[in-house]
Amino acid sequence: MQRAKYVLSEVMVGLWRNVTMTIAMIITMAVSLFMLGASGLLYLQVNSMKDFYYDQIEVAIFLNNDVTDQQRSDLDSALKSDPLVAEVIYESKEQAHEKFKTMYADAPDLVNAVKPGQLPESFRVRLKNPEQFQQINDRYKNTEGVETIVDQQRLLDKIFNILGAVQSGALGAATIMAIAALLLVGNTIQVAAYSKRREVAVMKLVGASNWFIQAPFVLEAVAAGLIGSILAIGLLVFGKVFFLDGSLRDLTELLTPLGWSDVLLMFPVMAGVGGLVSAVTAWVTLRFYLRV
């Protein structure tokens, strides 16, 4: 109990002794963990968006204007018996026009310009696996009566590619910042070990156990890591409130909304990574500079 108190007070003294270094360590740690948390959120986000959109995704097979009833019903039965296809819905010219009208209800000029019958009829096909568009395309593009086949997934893939690139970028930045943070932790521990060299020498001499000698240093680094992760979660919350829910609201409504539970889920991840990485770095540094 008393030893725990001693170790804790040593940690506080240690953090305060070199306060500029401690602040630098905490800030780099916070930025690095923030990047890590942001890339984690993007990862969750892209996954949930994929689930959401791929579930609704369709391949649209547009038919020629002069398609015969025979061709249409042949295609219908071919699609219905196709093992790649999960669901087929026929959309007539009238239905297409209705859909168009509701979709662009706020642009009456556009709606008036398009007459019923101008929009092509189509089969809306949901695939069992959205990735298999190419096979569907190969199989049906030359079928008589088919005008074009459009894969909505292509469009989404572009968005996902962008989000994926942003995520990789954040992860890359997190890694670089993490390296800077690790070097700072190592340096701080060296300075701490040096400024306490007399105490450490006496402790070794009178037989203090190794963990007791090392604990204050390791905990000092862990404390900095944890404070950094608290700042990082603060940054994430700030980002959500002021950007995603604030100035970027229109953009985020297009995507699936980012829930608070996901944001809060990042906290244990960041705290865990921050604390653990700091502890390991401190411990490895001590192996070299304290040789207990």
Binding site: Q2, R198, E199, V202, G207, A208, S209, N210, F212
Partner: protein, 226 residues
Amino acid sequence: MIQLEHVTKTYPKASRPSLDEVSCGIEKGEFVFFIGPSGSGKSTIIKLLLHEITPNRGRVVVNGRDVTSMRSWKIPHFRRSIGCVFQDFRLLPNRTAYENVAFALEVIGKTKAVARRVVPEVLELVGLGGKEHRYPHELSGGEQQRVAVARAFVNRPLILLADEPTGNLDPDTSIEIMRLLDRINRTGTTVVMVTHDSNIVNQMRRRVVEIESGRIVRDQARGVYG
């Protein structure tokens, strides 16, 4: 109590061994001087006994335990049975005499209550009663060394190692420190002292082991320096 068996220690890059096939036994309660010129290897013995270094060959047995093969995590506990004082005192400058001694107890897990009971007692024993709350820089060299002796002895070790404890002290103060070590020896503590202070060795008339170039050249029960 202490047994050196054919101990050879060569430091890396050194051309000749610091200790060469040294064998020596020390009984419980003995007071032994290791003497010899600088670089003769006498301080290496202290380091070996503390397990700060390991020998290249031979065995070092302390308290019936083979130090040479001791696992590293057992060393801290082992050191609690050994007290040690040095030429440069090695006190913590920002702690008072009391705190310096109490520190040694607290870092091995003794409570503050134990320290409050034991520390004034041992400071009284070394003759520092009334100076508990002085900082090292407020004490004379001899008084600082007394604090160091108190710190080494507070845990009632079986062995007290002293590496040139009078090296920084004037002759009169040195004699006082020797009286103190003698008193500690009389409580049954084995004292091993490395020195090249001929005056002291001649006055004490205790066992003298002389080392030269890493070898024992003399081992006398009630010896003198030269």
